[in-house]
């Protein structure tokens, strides 16, 4: 099953390149710590997911690149071609000259409708190359204008046109300070719109990855390239093939196959009363956790800690909320690696912060004229705030 990636804006395209690079290098890693046959199966599965093949055997990323100005796409295309191993399809880019000016309204209301047909056609072409489509992976930042605004528009279109396919958005949470001044507005508008059309939002915070680079990797002068590579590494370890059933040789068919949407119990139904053991330790309460283990000794790993009821909300049994995928084939030369994908309260504080700051700015009406100029009115802002307050409250109540 294949995944079509849509890379939007400077951030989306810079990250997209790193992701495909990481996926390719990992699949072609000679030391898989497993049998050759298994390695080949892994490679074939990964390849089918993320790459198509030209006649001469060169791998072509299953991706559509979109940006409203040409510099980044040009760089991305040439970097990929330079690798000599994989590249982007020649006609899979859509580019304009003028940018979106960090303006969500411009990305959503002007670029969106104007370029809808061209962009959706490109995506359609990529979809047709797949034997079977598992879904879309949309990479975008929230802070700017293209990734955020046009990204929201494209996701909406994907929802309309491919309602049966899964849409997962990789959203980049901007640094707390020092990126874009109107980033909180752009983020609020993006999130509220994505909530209505995306199936899953995979979040990476620049601040968090920055800390990883600084503290765990000891990089002295951290560049965006470093940050993007860490991100790509994480994504790679999640998206590369995994076994579908323990002991089976069959790689999981749908890479994005986890039940991401969990609904709280309807009022009136009895909640499951539990006494948990470790209430003193404050964890972010989760409603779903997925652990992906790769490499040596995966089958003997002890995952008891993940089944602690203290981690989960009171209306869920850990067995319903926790999943683990184990694969012997190592990832990217790491003898053992583990990844955790979590739907929990971890995002509560950052979300609350962004909503709070955006709200303060909105109260003063600062910058609003830049949005109303392109058709996003104060009511649209209020709708977005309302929706996000509901999300905050829902997570809070876990």
């Amino acid at each position: 099953m294949s995944v079509v990636t849509v890379q939007l804006g400077q951030c989306g395209n810079q990250i997209g390149f790193e992701v495909f690079d990481a996926l390719y290098s990992d699949s072609h890693c000679p030391q898989g710590l497993c049998s050759e046959r298994e390695n080949e199966a892994y490679q074939a599965s990964s390849k089918e997911r993320f790459f198509s093949e030209e006649e001469n055997g060169v791998s072509i990323a299953r991706a559509v690149l979109v940006d409203m100005e040409p510099k980044v796409i040009n760089q991305t295309l040439s970097k990929a071609a330079q690798s000599g191993q994989w590249k982007y399809a020649q006609h899979s880019c859509f580019c304009q000259k003028e940018g979106s000016g960090n303006n969500w309204a411009y990305g959503y209301s002007v670029h969106g409708p104007r370029h809808e047909e061209s962009i959706m056609n490109l995506i359609q072409k990529e979809v047709e190359k797949c034997d079977s489509l598992s879904g879309f992976f949309i990479i975008m930042s929230m802070a700017g204008g293209t990734g955020s605004g046009l990204g929201a528009f494209v996701t909406q279109n994907l929802q309309d046109q491919y309602s049966n396919s899964l849409k997962m958005n990789q959203i980049i949470w901007p640094y707390g300070t020092g990126e874009v001044i109107v980033q909180n507005y752009n983020s609020v508008l993006t999130l509220s719109h994505l909530y209505r059309s995306s199936d899953a939002l995979l979040v990476h915070e620049n601040d968090a990855i920055h800390k990883i680079c600084a503290k765990l990797m000891n990089i002295k002068q951290i560049s965006f390239s470093d940050i993007n590579q860490v991100l790509a590494h994480q994504l790679g370890s999640v998206f590369q093939p995994t076994y579908s059933v323990e002991g089976s040789c069959h790689y999981r068919r749908n890479p994005l196959g986890i039940n991401w949407q969990v609904r709280p119990p309807l009022p009136g139904l009895p909640t499951l009363g539990k006494v948990s053991l470790n209430r003193e330790l404050h964890f972010n309460t989760s409603i779903a956790n997925l652990v992906i283990l790769r490499g040596k000794d995966v089958h003997s790993a002890d995952l008891g800690g993940f089944k602690d009821p203290a981690l989960y909300t009171s209306w869920l049994e850990p067995i319903d909320a926790f999943n683990v995928w184990k694969t012997q084939r190592a990832f990217s030369k790491y003898e053992k690696s583990a990844a955790l994908v979590s739907n929990s309260q971890f995002l509560l504080k950052p979300l609350d912060t962004i909503v709070g700051k955006a709200w303060n700015m909105f109260a003063s009406k600062a910058y609003i004229h830049q949005y109303t100029k392109f058709g996003i009115e104060e009511e649209d802002f209020l709708d977005s705030f309302t929706l996000l307050e509901q999300v905050v409250a829902s997570y809070c109540n876990l």
Binding site: P70, Q75, E98, G99, G101, G145, V180, C213, F224, A366
Partner: protein, 471 residues
């Protein structure tokens, strides 16, 4: 890459424009062996003649600037056309007259405005040709004279009507108190009203600040200290190594500073980097309310030492300098006023961690308005300016511009009270005393808006109550 068009109006505007084109060509010659798309946005077209059939060894042989040069006297523009830059412009891009505006805003605005409106429109349309979407106009002029001030601001209204989607960036040179043009307060006030109403973004520059920067550099150069030889090309005031060699003119040093400002402002749109910033992002991030669009600029470094044995100034020093008054192009005190927004445009080998570290370091000493405590917009462009390993341009929307405007208003009032020279203006058709009154009101309203924001300076920063949701 989205094109931008440069419009130079008046003597000051054209002299700065001339320096700009010179330095732009120097920058591109230094960076590009192969002519590429980043010769745009400022150049209309270029042709390359391959050397032995190889494009990469080819020379740029025909370069046309995307510009319109306007002056009501012929002196300056003629010099440009006879000088080494003559190949970059053609006569179709010029509008000149012979009589000059007599340092009279009304002559520039009303007389020449109506006389040349059609021609101006025609040339502008031509400069916007061959590009799918012109992104902005850069207007360069001075405020104190007649042509730059009057005709330059007349132009703004024309641009707004004819090209409403295109941003209007104005670089305005404000007269100093000792300006020898007696009527400069009248001209400036009348021009301010137009800037208030029809410009998207204004970068005010004052001559005194430029003088001060030159003095500082001279001091450094002549100090005779060991190891203080400066790399000629790195001087923010020099045109050393410029493609077209020109005779140094008296104001060249000052004009080069302004030219460098424009080059750095557009660098992220022209060259690649890990965090790009296009021209339309400047307005989006730095103008929270339409009227408050005056930005204080500061440039650093002013020079690079030539002696490689002297360690290059620490990167962090560059950030500190950007917030020092010595590097500002207008006299103002942002540290003791209120920031509405701030942009840092970095060039060279600087990464995001350097940016963040310095923002964290400098933040505590700067006061930001309550609803924009993290009001920073940043960009990283990989290509440094000629002669430097890195550089920084800071643009601040700060209430510190208020005293400049108040001083301007005072100078105006002193002159107007005596009705001095007023008849020169009132005799022009369309000019009445009410024009002056309206202009002063417009300025007063602007000052009042800054006052109101300043009043919030001492108020504690409180979070406003949020929407409460029924679950």
């Amino acid at each position: 890459v989205s094109p931008a068009s440069l419009i130079a109006v008046g003597q000051c505007g054209n002299q700065i424009g001339c320096c700009f084109w010179d330095l732009a060509l120097r920058e591109h010659a230094a960076v590009n062996q192969v002519p590429s798309y980043n010769l745009f946005p400022f150049f209309l077209s270029f042709r390359v003649v391959g050397d032995g059939g190889s494009i990469s060894k080819g020379k740029i042989c025909s370069l046309k600037a995307r510009a319109v040069l306007i002056d009501m006297e012929e002196g300056v523009v003629n010099e440009i056309l006879q000088g080494p830059l003559r190949d970059v412009f053609d006569s179709k891009q010029l509008i000149t007259d012979i009589s000059g505006s007599g340092n009279n805003w009304a002559v520039g605005h009303k007389v020449f405005g109506s006389l040349y409106q059609e021609q101006i429109l025609e040339k502008l349309r031509k400069s916007a040709e061959h590009c799918d979407c012109l992104q902005c106009f850069f207007i360069i002029h001075s405020m104190g004279g007649g042509t730059g001030s009057g005709l330059g601001t007349f132009l703004l209204k024309v641009l707004e009507d004819e090209f409403p989607e295109v941003y209007r960036f104005v670089t305005s040179v404000y007269p100093s108190a000792e300006d020898d043009v007696i009527t400069s307060p009248y001209n400036s006030i009348l021009a301010m009203k137009e800037l208030n109403e029809h410009a998207d973004c204004v970068l005010p520059i004052d001559n005194q600040s430029l003088f001060d920067i030159i003095s500082k550099i001279d001091l450094m150069v002549n100090s005779g200290k060991l190891g203080t030889t400066i790399k000629a090309k790195s001087l923010v005031t020099s045109s050393a190594g410029a493609v077209k060699k020109r005779h140094q003119k008296p104001f060249d040093a000052m004009n080069n500073i302004v030219a460098n400002l424009l080059l750095n402002l557009t660098s992220s749109a022209r060259f690649e980097g890990s965090l790009n910033m296009d021209l339309n992002e400047i307005s989006m991030n730095l103008v929270p309310f339409p009227q408050l669009h005056y930005l204080v600029s500061s440039l650093t470094p002013l020079y690079t030492l030539a002696d490689v044995n002297i360690p290059t100034r620490r990167l962090d020093q560059m950030f500190s300098d950007a917030f020092s008054k010595d590097h500002q192009l207008i006299r103002a005190d942002p540290k003791h006023s209120l920031y509405l927004a701030c942009a840092l445009m970095v060039r060279g080998n600087v990464q995001v961690s350097d940016l963040r570290r310095n923002i964290e370091r400098l933040k505590p000493s700067l006061r930001f308005i309550s609803w924009n405590q993290e009001g920073w917009k940043t960009s990283l462009c990989s290509v440094p300016p000629v002669g430097h390993s890195h550089s920084l341009l800071a643009l601040a929307n700060n209430t510190c511009v208020k005293p400049t405007f108040m001083e301007l208003r005072d100078r105006f009032t002193r002159l107007y009270k005596k009705k001095a020279h007023l008849h020169h203006y009132l005799q022009i058709e369309g000019m009445e005393e009410s024009c002056f009154m309206e202009a002063v009101s417009s300025l007063s309203r602007l000052i009042e808006e800054y006052n109101q924001l300043d009043a919030t300076k001492c108020m504690p920063v409180e979070d406003l109550p949020r929407l409460s949701i029924a679950m």
